[in-house]
């Protein structure tokens, strides 16, 4: 029952986010700040993880091919498919649920605890629009992060394969190019947009409606990570059924 109440409260919150907009000049600044906080500051970890996980995916694939009838180009093919379809959009989003999600929850939660949200409301500002809307807009750039993750994942795979001596560069590149279905990219970016919305709103919900003190801010951050991850996994399953099956 509690979960149904929370789901209802979440959708009511979304309704409020798009009402009574904040002054345009102020909102513009807030959006730019959020782009820096949520997108640009996440690039480092995304670059690092994508490169090495792409490398590991290609090494694992190469090590598991012991049948001489299977062509070497499978390494590039498998790396591309894994990275584009699942690793970049879903795995990176789970990591972002930890990084961005806990940041959003703890920053909004701290504002709640220290009455900063009350201060906004007393001034007649729609605090949900002021706090959450810029995050949603900033995360429209999230697919750009996923695009970088895709490129670096495949690039890491290529480096690991070629310099690890598992396959030739030509075979890897041929594998990456073979049987490419452009819709898979569209599917991955659709997923990224949905995950971006979840990443912006679920942690905001957890932070905005938390009660208590500093300890509860920590608990809310943990809950935000768990719930954001769960919802991303469920959304991933539903989108995959709808778009690929």
């Amino acid at each position: 029952m509690k979960h149904f109440t929370e789901i209802g409260a979440y959708f009511l919150m979304l309704g409020q986010v798009f009402k009574r907009p904040t002054k345009r000049s102020v909102m513009k600044e807030l959006i730019l700040k959020e782009v820096e906080e949520l997108i640009l500051n996440s690039l480092g970890i995304v670059v690092f993880i994508s490169f090495f996980v792409g490398g590991v995916v290609s090494i694992q694939t190469a090590l598991n091919i012991d049948n001489p009838l299977i062509p070497d180009l499978l390494v590039g093919f498998a790396t591309r498919q894994s990275v584009i379809l699942e690793f970049a959009p879903t795995f990176i989003s789970i990591i972002m649920a930890g990084k961005i999600g806990s940041f959003i929850t703890s920053s909004i939660g701290s504002m709640r605890v220290t009455e900063q949200i009350d201060a906004l409301e007393v001034m007649g500002i729609n605090s949900l629009n002021y706090l959450v809307f810029p995050k949603i807009i900033a995360l429209l750039f999230y697919p750009f992060v996923i695009g970088i993750a895709m490129f670096l994942g495949i690039f890491g795979g290529w480096i690991a394969t070629v310099y690890g001596g598992f396959s030739s560069s030509a075979a890897f590149i041929e594998g990456v190019q073979s049987k490419f279905i452009p819709f898979h990219l569209i599917y991955a970016f659709i997923k990224s947009f949905v995950f971006a919305f979840i990443l912006a709103t679920v942690p905001s919900f957890k932070g905005y409606y938390m009660t208590g003190g500093a300890l509860e801010v920590g608990k809310a951050s943990t809950a935000a990570f768990v719930w954001t991850s769960v919802i991303i996994i469920i959304a991933n399953y539903v989108i995959t059924i709808l778009l690929l099956s």
Binding site: S25, S110, T114, E115, D118, A119, V122, M123, G124
Partner: protein, 253 residues
């Protein structure tokens, strides 16, 4: 002026405010006092519109808050300044940006005009050379001054203060009290202060509402509180060790 008529509020089955009726006058420091759990904060939040009362009316300049439409409420809120117990300054903004915030949100002033207003109001609260500091870099007393500066920068008609002295040493507390009183008279605004600090009561209590168990148990001012006809008020006044000592000294004479 703010009038309150038969205000009731309860959470679940627990009544917090019971038939509260009173008036807060313009140009005066109006104090809401009472022990912890007497309903002071809930009363203040009802006045601010953060809680919706179950019944009763709050009238701002004779206009019921409950009957105002969204635009009227928005307009009213822009005339309200609030000093929260902990200051509620925005952590991510400097002192200057905090004070500038209401101007940025509700006026079309240029950057230069806003900076001029901010400097003016910061010097009014005796806070100079802190413009570029963040709230975490200044003391509690300075944070309260910044909160007061932010509350008055947009020339409010109503000023609300929730325990403005909590966590401050007696000297700083007195400075803050006097500052609030001066601002109230200078700007001719309706100031409502939520406190249980007897020093504040004596210093700036021009109109006092004593709440007990969510009811208005007594109304008066700093001059009449010692002769209050309610035992609860007398008990509250002399719950302070300082006042207890003064009474003992007076009796021994």
């Amino acid at each position: 002026m703010i009038k309150v008529n038969h205000l009731n509020k309860q959470f679940g089955d627990t009544p917090i405010l019971r038939d509260v009726s009173t008036a807060f006058e313009r140009g005066k420091t109006n104090l809401i006092i009472g022990s912890s759990g007497s309903g002071k904060t809930v009363f203040l939040k009802c006045l601010l519109g953060l809680y919706r009362p179950d019944s009763g009316q709050i009238l701002y300049s004779d206009k019921p808050f409950s009957k105002m439409d969204n635009n009227e409420r928005k307009e009213l809120r822009q005339k309200i300044g609030m000093v929260f117990q902990g200051g509620a300054l925005f952590d991510s903004m400097t002192v200057e940006e905090n004070v500038m915030f209401p101007l940025r949100m509700f006026t079309d002033q240029t950057e230069q005009e806003m900076i001029h207003s901010v400097n003016e109001v910061l010097s009014r609260v005796n806070l100079n050379n802190a413009n570029k500091k963040f709230p975490s870099e200044i003391s509690g007393g300075m944070q309260k001054r910044v909160a007061i500066a932010r509350a008055i920068v947009n020339n409010p008609r109503y000023l609300f203060c929730d325990e403005p002295n909590s966590g401050l040493d007696p000297k700083t507390a007195m400075v803050i009290d006097n500052l609030i009183q001066e601002i109230t008279q200078e700007y001719d605004i309706t100031t409502i202060i939520n406190t249980h600090d007897m020093n504040s009561v004596m210093e700036i209590g021009q109109n006092i509402v004593f709440l007990q168990y969510g009811k208005v148990a007594w109304e008066g001012n700093a001059n009449t509180i010692f002769n209050a006809d309610k035992q609860e008020v007398i008990d509250f006044v002399y719950s302070s060790n300082l006042f207890k000592k003064i009474r003992e000294i007076q009796r021994s004479k």
